[in-house]
């Protein structure tokens, strides 16, 4: 099993990436919890004993799409609000989702354009190592306006996966 990622897309256009365990299978549920603060909880089904859990702290109720990405394809989940539930001082906002197989054509086109503008080849970048490679991946990340959820290595790994597709 290869590396997997989740790509989070917000209504305001922001996109963030987080790495998933290779055992991740598909979206289980998404909901937000409001107390004074608000967080989203994204549960991803897994072949492990427990679902993978990702905590979303950026505008949790404005998350629009979740894309689970792996080498061979991607699944897109479009979120729609599905009511709320109050318990004491806490309110949960639940979301339904529709699931569809999808490609990453838009991101692949974007990365191809970035490479063209920078006059760089995907294979050449993939052959690089150390700081030089990280610096190239970081430039692509900024141009594509991709961010990471918690660890920068996740989004750089995701870009490397996209480069492998276009190489």
């Amino acid at each position: 099993m290869g590396q997997k990622y989740v790509l989070l897309r917000w209504k305001d256009g922001i996109q963030e990436v987080s790495a998933l365990a290779p055992e991740a299978k598909g979206l289980l549920r998404y909901y937000t919890i409001v107390r004074i603060e608000e967080y989203g909880r994204l549960a991803v089904d897994s072949d492990e004993d427990y679902p993978e859990l990702i905590i979303i702290d950026r505008k949790p109720r404005e998350l629009a799409e979740i894309v689970l990405v792996e080498d061979c394809g991607a699944k897109q989940y479009v979120l729609t609000p599905a009511g709320e539930h109050r318990e004491g001082g806490r309110t949960d906002h639940r979301f339904d989702f529709t699931e569809a197989e999808c490609g990453l054509d838009d991101l692949v086109s974007q990365i191809q354009e970035v490479l063209r503008n920078r006059n760089k080849g995907a294979k050449a970048i993939l052959k690089m190592s150390g700081k030089q490679k990280i610096s190239e991946l970081e430039e692509i990340r900024r141009t594509m306006k991709l961010r990471t959820l918690t660890e920068e290595a996740d989004v750089l790994g995701f870009i490397e996966m996209l480069l492998t597709r276009v190489a």
């Binding site: 909880r41 549960a43 427990y50 679902p51 993978e52 859990l53 109050r86 318990e87 004491g88 001082g89």
Partner: protein
């Protein structure tokens, strides 16, 4: 409208017991700081939440899968596990006004029992989280019996019998048993009421069998129901319409 009763069955979770103080960051913070390992707080909370995503709610997790919490969340760390049980009790609160309301109900001659969904094997009083909570909060004195799918316990002396073993509230078999048991205790069905928050376990199955029903909305409000004859946000509100049968 006055409700004349001789007996009141009180639900435990999110009714008699208010879990609002039981916040994970607080509980796991206390445990891991006591153990001198505060750097593990985030990891333990994360595991606890992942486990919740597996079972979908904390009640089910805590009532039916406690050994798994010990194993997965605490890596079978005995000391952490003991502290978990200790802090779990320490952070749970009694519902607002519960003690004064129970004292008032007893003064009216109304018998009060706890009707809960505990599935663990019954041991001595104080060995399960329900009776431990009642003792700790000084509430045992107001109740005669504690009914659960594990059996019935007399709270004055801990005497247990197992006539209601395997009966539960969701299927309604617990209420069938209560009807028979209360009749043996000389109480008629139209003199009995159940108070609880969950429509599917406390209100609907009991009302279908003829119990009077009071929906408690102080912690969770599941919305109105044709099976809920009364709705209260707090226990003291019960005093406004309940009267003891002389």
């Amino acid at each position: 409208m006055t409700l004349n009763i001789k007996w009141l069955g009180v639900d435990f979770g999110q009714c008699l017991m208010d879990p609002r103080g039981l916040r994970n960051p607080l509980m796991f913070g206390e445990i891991m700081r006591d153990l001198g390992r505060p750097e593990e707080i985030a990891e333990r909370i994360h595991r606890y939440r992942r486990m919740k995503e597996k079972y979908q709610n904390y009640s089910l997790m805590k009532e039916g899968h406690r050994p798994e919490i010990r194993e997965y969340v605490f890596g079978n760390d005995d000391e952490a596990w003991e502290l978990f049980s200790e802090y779990e009790q320490r952070l749970l609160m009694p519902a607002d006004g519960i003690a004064e309301t129970l004292a008032w109900l007893r003064e009216q001659g109304i018998i009060c029992d706890v009707v809960a969904e505990l599935k663990k094997t019954l041991g001595p009083i104080g060995s399960d989280h329900v009776t431990m909570f009642l003792q700790r909060q000084g509430l045992s004195q107001y109740f005669d019996y504690f009914y659960s799918p594990s059996g019935r316990v007399r709270l004055s002396d801990g005497k247990a019998d197992f006539g209601c073993q395997g009966k539960d509230k969701t299927s309604g078999t617990m209420y069938d048993y209560l009807l028979e048991d209360l009749a043996r205790r000389g109480i008629n069905i139209d003199e009995c009421a159940i108070i609880g928050d969950k429509l599917s376990t406390d209100i609907e199955p009991s009302r279908r069998r003829g119990f009077h029903t009071i929906q408690f909305t102080g912690y969770i409000d599941m919305g109105p129901s044709e099976y809920a004859e009364y709705r209260v946000e707090s226990f003291p509100q019960v005093k406004e319409f309940v009267k003891g049968v002389k």
